[in-house]
Protein backbone atom coordinates (compact mmCIF):
# COMPACT_ATOMS: atom_id res chain seq x y z
CA UNK A 1 0.00 0.00 0.00
CA UNK A 2 1.34 3.39 -0.95
CA UNK A 3 1.87 5.92 1.86
CA UNK A 4 -0.63 8.22 0.15
CA UNK A 5 -3.37 5.59 0.51
CA UNK A 6 -2.35 4.91 4.10
CA UNK A 7 -2.69 8.57 4.94
CA UNK A 8 -6.05 8.71 3.17
CA UNK A 9 -7.41 5.77 5.17
CA UNK A 10 -6.03 7.18 8.40
CA UNK A 11 -7.52 10.62 7.75
CA UNK A 12 -10.83 9.04 6.69
CA UNK A 13 -11.05 6.98 9.87
CA UNK A 14 -10.15 9.99 11.99
CA UNK A 15 -12.81 12.13 10.31
CA UNK A 16 -15.47 9.44 10.79
CA UNK A 17 -14.50 9.13 14.46
CA UNK A 18 -14.61 12.90 14.99
CA UNK A 19 -17.97 13.32 13.27
CA UNK A 20 -19.35 10.36 15.22
CA UNK A 21 -18.19 11.90 18.48
CA UNK A 22 -19.70 15.26 17.49
CA UNK A 23 -23.04 13.66 16.63
CA UNK A 24 -23.14 11.66 19.86
CA UNK A 25 -22.35 14.76 21.88
CA UNK A 26 -25.06 16.74 20.09
CA UNK A 27 -27.67 14.08 20.71
CA UNK A 28 -26.62 13.78 24.34
CA UNK A 29 -26.97 17.54 24.70
CA UNK A 30 -30.45 17.54 23.22
CA UNK A 31 -32.01 18.80 26.43
CA UNK A 32 -29.16 20.90 27.78
CA UNK A 33 -28.53 22.74 24.54
CA UNK A 34 -32.17 23.58 23.93
CA UNK A 35 -32.86 27.27 24.26
CA UNK A 36 -36.30 26.79 25.81
CA UNK A 37 -38.81 24.19 27.00
CA UNK A 38 -41.93 23.72 24.96
CA UNK A 39 -45.07 23.63 27.15
CA UNK A 40 -45.32 19.82 26.97
CA UNK A 41 -41.61 19.42 27.74
CA UNK A 42 -41.96 21.78 30.67
CA UNK A 43 -44.86 19.76 31.99
CA UNK A 44 -42.92 16.50 31.63
CA UNK A 45 -39.85 18.01 33.31
CA UNK A 46 -41.83 19.01 36.44
CA UNK A 47 -39.93 22.25 36.90
CA UNK A 48 -40.12 23.34 40.53
CA UNK A 49 -41.91 26.66 41.18
CA UNK A 50 -39.42 29.49 41.41
CA UNK A 51 -36.74 27.79 39.28
CA UNK A 52 -35.51 29.95 36.41
CA UNK A 53 -36.70 28.53 33.11
CA UNK A 54 -37.44 29.50 29.55
CA UNK A 55 -40.69 28.57 27.91
CA UNK A 56 -41.34 28.81 24.18
CA UNK A 57 -44.31 28.13 21.96
CA UNK A 58 -47.15 29.72 20.04
CA UNK A 59 -49.26 32.43 21.60
CA UNK A 60 -52.72 30.92 21.50
CA UNK A 61 -55.22 32.85 19.40
CA UNK A 62 -57.67 34.84 21.43
CA UNK A 63 -55.77 34.26 24.67
CA UNK A 64 -54.05 37.64 25.10
CA UNK A 65 -55.69 39.68 27.86
CA UNK A 66 -54.42 43.09 28.83
CA UNK A 67 -55.08 43.82 32.49
CA UNK A 68 -56.60 47.03 33.81
CA UNK A 69 -53.23 48.37 35.00
CA UNK A 70 -52.16 48.62 31.35
CA UNK A 71 -48.78 46.92 31.72
CA UNK A 72 -49.67 43.38 32.74
CA UNK A 73 -50.70 40.90 30.07
CA UNK A 74 -51.87 37.31 30.35
CA UNK A 75 -51.73 34.83 27.54
CA UNK A 76 -51.43 31.12 26.79
CA UNK A 77 -48.32 29.51 25.30
CA UNK A 78 -49.04 26.28 23.49
CA UNK A 79 -47.25 23.65 21.43
CA UNK A 80 -50.44 21.86 20.42
CA UNK A 81 -50.06 19.22 23.13
CA UNK A 82 -49.91 21.30 26.25
CA UNK A 83 -50.83 24.87 27.13
CA UNK A 84 -49.34 27.03 29.85
CA UNK A 85 -50.78 30.34 31.14
CA UNK A 86 -48.20 33.12 31.19
CA UNK A 87 -48.25 36.47 32.97
CA UNK A 88 -45.92 39.27 32.01
CA UNK A 89 -45.49 42.82 33.18
CA UNK A 90 -43.81 45.11 30.69
CA UNK A 91 -43.45 45.96 27.03
CA UNK A 92 -43.53 43.12 24.52
CA UNK A 93 -41.48 43.18 21.28
CA UNK A 94 -43.22 44.52 18.16
CA UNK A 95 -43.51 41.08 16.64
CA UNK A 96 -45.27 39.56 19.62
CA UNK A 97 -48.79 38.56 18.66
CA UNK A 98 -51.47 35.91 18.73
CA UNK A 99 -50.76 32.89 16.56
CA UNK A 100 -47.05 33.77 16.57
CA UNK A 101 -44.08 32.23 18.30
CA UNK A 102 -42.78 33.69 21.54
CA UNK A 103 -40.26 32.81 24.24
CA UNK A 104 -40.80 33.72 27.88
CA UNK A 105 -37.98 33.98 30.41
CA UNK A 106 -39.07 33.49 34.01
CA UNK A 107 -40.35 30.87 36.44
CA UNK A 108 -43.46 28.92 37.40
CA UNK A 109 -45.43 30.07 40.40
CA UNK A 110 -47.12 27.69 42.85
CA UNK A 111 -50.39 27.67 40.87
CA UNK A 112 -48.67 26.42 37.69
CA UNK A 113 -48.73 29.77 35.95
CA UNK A 114 -45.53 30.93 34.28
CA UNK A 115 -44.43 34.38 35.42
CA UNK A 116 -42.21 35.97 32.77
CA UNK A 117 -39.54 38.59 33.43
CA UNK A 118 -38.86 38.97 29.74
CA UNK A 119 -40.66 38.16 26.48
CA UNK A 120 -38.92 37.54 23.17
CA UNK A 121 -40.75 37.23 19.88
CA UNK A 122 -39.82 34.37 17.59
CA UNK A 123 -39.89 34.77 13.84
CA UNK A 124 -40.55 31.83 11.57
CA UNK A 125 -38.80 31.04 8.31
CA UNK A 126 -41.48 32.65 6.13
CA UNK A 127 -40.80 35.95 4.41
CA UNK A 128 -43.53 37.51 2.30
CA UNK A 129 -44.68 40.88 1.02
CA UNK A 130 -47.42 42.68 3.04
CA UNK A 131 -50.39 42.01 0.77
CA UNK A 132 -49.63 38.29 0.72
CA UNK A 133 -49.05 38.28 4.44
CA UNK A 134 -52.68 39.18 5.03
CA UNK A 135 -54.14 36.15 3.37
CA UNK A 136 -52.49 32.98 4.63
CA UNK A 137 -51.16 34.28 7.94
CA UNK A 138 -54.15 36.09 9.28
CA UNK A 139 -53.20 37.31 12.70
CA UNK A 140 -56.43 36.23 14.26
CA UNK A 141 -58.25 39.54 14.25
CA UNK A 142 -57.26 41.60 17.25
CA UNK A 143 -53.52 41.39 17.61
CA UNK A 144 -51.36 43.38 19.93
CA UNK A 145 -48.93 44.20 17.17
CA UNK A 146 -49.01 46.17 14.00
CA UNK A 147 -49.02 43.94 11.00
CA UNK A 148 -47.22 45.01 7.85
CA UNK A 149 -50.16 46.95 6.44
CA UNK A 150 -50.69 49.24 9.41
CA UNK A 151 -46.96 49.67 9.79
CA UNK A 152 -46.80 50.85 6.21
CA UNK A 153 -49.69 53.17 6.83
CA UNK A 154 -47.76 54.81 9.63
CA UNK A 155 -44.68 55.44 7.55
Amino acid sequence: MKPKQQRLILAGLAIIAIIGAGLLASVAMRQQAAYFYSPSEARAAHIAPGTAARLGGMVERGSVRRNADGVTIDFMLTDGRATVPVRYQGIVPDLFGEGQGAVADGHFDASGRFVADRILAKHDENYMPPQMGQMPVDNGGDTLVNDGATREGQN
Partner: protein, 239 residues
Amino acid sequence: MHRFANPQRFLSIARPLTPWLVGLGILLVLAGGYAGLFITPPDARQGDSARILYVHVPAAWLGMAGWGSISIAALMQLVWRHPLAGLAARAAAMPGALFTAICLATGSIWGRPTWGTWWEWDGRLTSMLVLLFLYLGFIAFTNMDGDKGAISRPAAIYALVGAVNLPIINRSVVWWNSLHQPSSITIGKSAIAPELLWPLGLTFLGFSMLFAAIVLMRMRRFLADARNNARLRRMATEF
Protein backbone atom coordinates in the same frame (compact mmCIF):
# COMPACT_ATOMS: atom_id res chain seq x y z
CA MET B 1 -5.80 18.53 -8.95
CA HIS B 2 -2.04 18.32 -9.19
CA ARG B 3 -2.24 20.08 -12.53
CA PHE B 4 -2.41 23.25 -10.46
CA ALA B 5 0.43 22.20 -8.19
CA ASN B 6 2.81 24.28 -10.25
CA PRO B 7 2.64 27.83 -8.86
CA GLN B 8 3.33 29.29 -12.32
CA ARG B 9 0.33 27.52 -13.82
CA PHE B 10 -1.80 28.53 -10.85
CA LEU B 11 -0.73 32.16 -11.25
CA SER B 12 -1.43 32.15 -14.98
CA ILE B 13 -5.05 31.33 -14.14
CA ALA B 14 -5.42 33.31 -10.90
CA ARG B 15 -3.98 36.55 -12.27
CA PRO B 16 -6.50 37.20 -15.08
CA LEU B 17 -9.36 35.70 -13.05
CA THR B 18 -9.01 38.09 -10.09
CA PRO B 19 -10.12 41.37 -11.75
CA TRP B 20 -13.14 39.62 -13.26
CA LEU B 21 -14.19 38.24 -9.91
CA VAL B 22 -13.69 41.61 -8.22
CA GLY B 23 -15.55 43.56 -10.92
CA LEU B 24 -18.47 41.21 -11.32
CA GLY B 25 -18.67 40.65 -7.58
CA ILE B 26 -18.92 44.36 -6.78
CA LEU B 27 -21.46 44.85 -9.57
CA LEU B 28 -23.67 42.00 -8.33
CA VAL B 29 -23.46 43.10 -4.70
CA LEU B 30 -24.37 46.68 -5.63
CA ALA B 31 -27.25 45.53 -7.85
CA GLY B 32 -28.55 43.10 -5.24
CA GLY B 33 -28.12 45.66 -2.48
CA TYR B 34 -30.00 48.31 -4.43
CA ALA B 35 -32.80 45.92 -5.31
CA GLY B 36 -33.00 44.66 -1.74
CA LEU B 37 -33.20 48.16 -0.31
CA PHE B 38 -35.39 49.96 -2.85
CA ILE B 39 -37.21 47.55 -5.16
CA THR B 40 -38.46 44.61 -3.09
CA PRO B 41 -41.49 45.10 -0.84
CA PRO B 42 -40.97 45.00 2.94
CA ASP B 43 -41.75 41.78 4.78
CA ALA B 44 -45.32 41.46 6.03
CA ARG B 45 -44.41 41.13 9.71
CA GLN B 46 -40.86 42.42 10.09
CA GLY B 47 -41.20 45.41 7.80
CA ASP B 48 -37.93 46.85 6.52
CA SER B 49 -35.64 45.06 8.96
CA ALA B 50 -36.04 41.88 6.89
CA ARG B 51 -33.89 43.49 4.18
CA ILE B 52 -30.76 42.64 6.16
CA LEU B 53 -31.13 39.07 4.90
CA TYR B 54 -29.48 40.09 1.61
CA VAL B 55 -26.23 40.48 3.52
CA HIS B 56 -26.80 38.11 6.43
CA VAL B 57 -27.52 34.97 4.42
CA PRO B 58 -24.52 35.26 2.03
CA ALA B 59 -22.28 36.08 5.01
CA ALA B 60 -23.48 32.99 6.88
CA TRP B 61 -22.94 30.85 3.79
CA LEU B 62 -19.43 32.18 3.21
CA GLY B 63 -18.48 31.86 6.86
CA MET B 64 -19.39 28.18 6.69
CA ALA B 65 -18.12 27.58 3.15
CA GLY B 66 -14.82 29.21 4.16
CA TRP B 67 -14.25 26.67 6.90
CA GLY B 68 -15.41 23.90 4.55
CA SER B 69 -12.71 24.89 2.05
CA ILE B 70 -10.09 25.22 4.80
CA SER B 71 -10.78 21.68 6.00
CA ILE B 72 -10.77 20.28 2.45
CA ALA B 73 -7.46 22.06 1.81
CA ALA B 74 -6.10 20.68 5.09
CA LEU B 75 -7.10 17.17 4.02
CA MET B 76 -5.43 17.65 0.64
CA GLN B 77 -2.25 18.75 2.33
CA LEU B 78 -2.28 15.90 4.85
CA VAL B 79 -3.06 13.13 2.38
CA TRP B 80 -1.82 14.24 -1.03
CA ARG B 81 0.79 16.77 0.09
CA HIS B 82 -0.60 19.22 -2.43
CA PRO B 83 1.83 22.15 -2.40
CA LEU B 84 -0.80 24.89 -2.78
CA ALA B 85 -3.36 23.43 -0.35
CA GLY B 86 -1.77 24.98 2.73
CA LEU B 87 -1.64 28.34 0.99
CA ALA B 88 -5.31 28.09 0.09
CA ALA B 89 -6.29 27.20 3.67
CA ARG B 90 -4.32 30.14 4.99
CA ALA B 91 -5.76 32.48 2.37
CA ALA B 92 -9.37 31.52 3.15
CA ALA B 93 -9.06 32.04 6.91
CA MET B 94 -9.16 35.85 6.95
CA PRO B 95 -12.19 36.35 4.64
CA GLY B 96 -13.93 33.42 6.34
CA ALA B 97 -13.54 35.07 9.73
CA LEU B 98 -14.63 38.40 8.25
CA PHE B 99 -17.87 37.01 6.80
CA THR B 100 -18.62 35.06 9.99
CA ALA B 101 -18.26 38.32 11.92
CA ILE B 102 -20.53 40.09 9.40
CA CYS B 103 -23.09 37.31 9.82
CA LEU B 104 -23.03 37.65 13.62
CA ALA B 105 -23.20 41.45 13.49
CA THR B 106 -26.08 41.64 10.99
CA GLY B 107 -27.94 38.92 12.87
CA SER B 108 -27.58 40.85 16.10
CA ILE B 109 -28.78 44.09 14.47
CA TRP B 110 -31.81 42.20 13.10
CA GLY B 111 -32.43 40.38 16.36
CA ARG B 112 -32.95 43.55 18.38
CA PRO B 113 -36.11 44.77 16.56
CA THR B 114 -37.36 41.27 15.71
CA TRP B 115 -36.78 39.15 18.80
CA GLY B 116 -36.27 41.99 21.22
CA THR B 117 -32.67 41.09 22.09
CA TRP B 118 -29.18 41.68 20.69
CA TRP B 119 -27.83 38.32 21.73
CA GLU B 120 -29.10 35.07 23.20
CA TRP B 121 -27.16 31.88 23.90
CA ASP B 122 -29.25 29.89 21.49
CA GLY B 123 -27.85 26.89 19.59
CA ARG B 124 -27.48 28.60 16.22
CA LEU B 125 -25.99 31.83 17.58
CA THR B 126 -23.59 30.02 19.87
CA SER B 127 -22.34 27.57 17.25
CA MET B 128 -21.76 30.46 14.83
CA LEU B 129 -19.77 32.30 17.49
CA VAL B 130 -17.72 29.13 18.01
CA LEU B 131 -16.99 29.19 14.27
CA LEU B 132 -15.59 32.71 14.60
CA PHE B 133 -13.34 31.57 17.45
CA LEU B 134 -12.22 28.58 15.37
CA TYR B 135 -11.18 30.99 12.63
CA LEU B 136 -9.26 33.20 15.04
CA GLY B 137 -7.50 30.14 16.45
CA PHE B 138 -6.62 28.93 12.97
CA ILE B 139 -5.25 32.33 11.99
CA ALA B 140 -3.11 32.41 15.14
CA PHE B 141 -1.99 28.84 14.44
CA THR B 142 -0.91 29.49 10.87
CA ASN B 143 0.78 32.77 11.77
CA MET B 144 3.19 30.70 13.85
CA ASP B 145 4.14 28.61 10.82
CA GLY B 146 6.13 31.44 9.26
CA ASP B 147 6.24 31.96 5.51
CA LYS B 148 6.41 28.31 4.49
CA GLY B 149 3.77 27.42 1.92
CA ALA B 150 2.31 24.52 3.85
CA ILE B 151 0.48 24.85 7.14
CA SER B 152 1.76 22.81 10.07
CA ARG B 153 0.32 19.34 10.69
CA PRO B 154 -1.37 20.38 13.96
CA ALA B 155 -3.01 23.31 12.15
CA ALA B 156 -4.29 20.95 9.46
CA ILE B 157 -5.69 18.55 12.05
CA TYR B 158 -7.27 21.49 13.89
CA ALA B 159 -8.96 22.53 10.62
CA LEU B 160 -10.38 19.02 10.16
CA VAL B 161 -11.61 18.74 13.74
CA GLY B 162 -13.22 22.17 13.48
CA ALA B 163 -15.31 20.95 10.54
CA VAL B 164 -17.48 19.09 13.07
CA ASN B 165 -18.99 22.46 13.89
CA LEU B 166 -20.41 22.88 10.37
CA PRO B 167 -23.16 20.22 10.58
CA ILE B 168 -23.86 21.40 14.13
CA ILE B 169 -24.46 24.96 12.88
CA ASN B 170 -26.66 23.65 10.10
CA ARG B 171 -28.71 21.31 12.29
CA SER B 172 -28.80 23.48 15.42
CA VAL B 173 -32.23 24.85 14.57
CA VAL B 174 -33.59 21.33 13.99
CA TRP B 175 -32.05 19.42 16.89
CA TRP B 176 -32.68 21.95 19.61
CA ASN B 177 -35.48 24.36 20.44
CA SER B 178 -33.94 27.60 19.25
CA LEU B 179 -34.80 31.24 19.02
CA HIS B 180 -33.37 31.38 15.51
CA GLN B 181 -35.85 30.32 12.85
CA PRO B 182 -35.30 27.14 10.82
CA SER B 183 -33.76 27.43 7.34
CA SER B 184 -35.88 29.43 4.91
CA ILE B 185 -34.22 27.91 1.88
CA THR B 186 -33.88 24.17 1.66
CA ILE B 187 -33.11 22.09 -1.40
CA GLY B 188 -35.80 22.75 -3.99
CA LYS B 189 -38.01 25.07 -1.98
CA SER B 190 -38.01 28.46 -0.37
CA ALA B 191 -40.13 29.92 2.41
CA ILE B 192 -39.17 33.37 1.14
CA ALA B 193 -41.67 34.74 -1.36
CA PRO B 194 -40.17 35.13 -4.87
CA GLU B 195 -40.65 38.94 -4.78
CA LEU B 196 -38.34 39.11 -1.77
CA LEU B 197 -36.03 36.30 -2.80
CA TRP B 198 -34.49 37.33 -6.12
CA PRO B 199 -31.99 39.99 -4.92
CA LEU B 200 -30.58 37.37 -2.56
CA GLY B 201 -29.37 35.43 -5.61
CA LEU B 202 -27.43 38.51 -6.77
CA THR B 203 -25.78 39.27 -3.43
CA PHE B 204 -25.15 35.57 -2.80
CA LEU B 205 -23.25 35.24 -6.07
CA GLY B 206 -21.60 38.64 -5.71
CA PHE B 207 -20.25 38.07 -2.20
CA SER B 208 -19.10 34.59 -3.21
CA MET B 209 -17.12 36.06 -6.11
CA LEU B 210 -15.56 38.67 -3.81
CA PHE B 211 -14.66 35.91 -1.39
CA ALA B 212 -12.99 33.92 -4.16
CA ALA B 213 -11.15 37.06 -5.32
CA ILE B 214 -9.84 37.73 -1.81
CA VAL B 215 -8.64 34.13 -1.52
CA LEU B 216 -6.85 34.30 -4.89
CA MET B 217 -5.25 37.65 -4.07
CA ARG B 218 -4.03 36.38 -0.72
CA MET B 219 -2.63 33.20 -2.30
CA ARG B 220 -0.77 35.30 -4.86
CA ARG B 221 0.60 37.47 -2.08
CA PHE B 222 1.84 34.44 -0.14
CA LEU B 223 3.51 33.06 -3.27
CA ALA B 224 5.19 36.41 -3.92
CA ASP B 225 6.35 36.59 -0.30
CA ALA B 226 7.81 33.11 -0.47
CA ARG B 227 9.64 33.92 -3.70
CA ASN B 228 10.93 37.18 -2.28
CA ASN B 229 12.23 35.53 0.84
CA ALA B 230 13.92 32.81 -1.19
CA ARG B 231 15.62 35.46 -3.30
CA LEU B 232 16.75 37.39 -0.22
CA ARG B 233 18.16 34.23 1.29
CA ARG B 234 20.01 33.44 -1.92
CA MET B 235 21.44 36.96 -2.05
CA ALA B 236 22.49 36.74 1.57
CA THR B 237 24.50 33.59 0.91
CA GLU B 238 26.09 35.02 -2.23
CA PHE B 239 27.65 37.95 -0.43
